[in-house]
Symmetry: D2
């Protein structure tokens, strides 16, 4: 993980783009890339979209991850810790015995 | 990276949620989580938002990463390879000599 | 309002696109267009973005409205009634005496 | 249309919120509301979502329209003109003879 974050930051530093990358604009960019990923599924069933657009889906997913890891780096968030911590919170919100096999949200619980 | 993806998939399998997780709905969920991250910056300057909402920002960023890594897992996308591959493409689109120190898009180049 | 909705539906019917326009895919398209609008503000201060991208902003805003009015039409939602109804709800959530001059959310109230 | 925009602006002026409403933050808010609309369709087939969440869908659609009309008002965009103008552009991009009955994008044309 550290190695891949290092490559992303190198890419940015070579272009001297840190100056534009305040967290708010990075969060905007993250939503834009997530939308570009979703665009590959527009007007299509899931299976058809994956078959037709696999390469673009991979590329847009990479852009999502690049921005997400950049935000983590800039805010000094440890990615693994953050994910493990959130999975614990989600586990409390969605206890297995209550939510197994259902797509209900906890608000619908 | 593999270890963290394994934890995410375990969380899902314990709840038997794979059945709901077609890539299209996962891509929808990814944009929803990216929006929830961005919501922390609504009506605020970047610095103020980070100071006030650091914990929520970390949690929403974790949710973004959880969905992104789930999509990668389900589509058998190697995350590191995908990022390195996309950084190369971005480097061709944004050559250093032309884009150093500018926030122009390649379309504005 | 009715006249403009009629034009939008005519555009769709001429292309026989109703068959693709289930509400879920229309809601996806609406978020995609909202993102394209937001893209005009990426890496820019608000004023600079408006000065540089006024025409694109107008076009993307039109696309947002086109999809929003299409969804309203298909779900038989009266747009004026829906807006007036929601403004009343928002007024209860954000009473003037408590929220005048503050950008706090009701959750932060 | 003018009457409804007037009501929206009155709601804002009573709370003295114009000061927070630069177009960039309004565009962010528009994407957030579009996502909240989409959230009603998460993990659901379109028909099921409409049946279960009709009222919330109407409310979120109203919020989308409120922000879109606010942006139009602040940037002095005539909504009807903008929509008619964009439908013409879309008609050129998607000529009937080529796109009738197909969900292809013009880029796939």
């Amino acid at each position: 993980m550290d190695a891949i974050i290092k490559k992303i930051i190198e890419f940015r530093d070579e272009r001297d783009w840190k100056q534009f990358h305040n967290p708010k604009d990075l969060a905007i960019s993250l939503t834009l890339e997530a939308s570009e990923l979703l665009e590959n599924f527009q007007w299509k069933e899931s299976v058809e979209a994956v078959n037709k657009n696999k390469e673009q889906i991979q590329d847009e997913l990479a852009d999502v991850l690049i921005y997400a890891l950049m935000i983590a780096h800039d805010l000094e968030i440890d990615v693994e810790h953050a994910i493990v911590h959130k999975l614990k919170k989600n586990a409390e919100k969605y206890p297995i015995e209550k939510f197994k096999g259902t797509s209900k949200k906890y608000t619908e619980g």
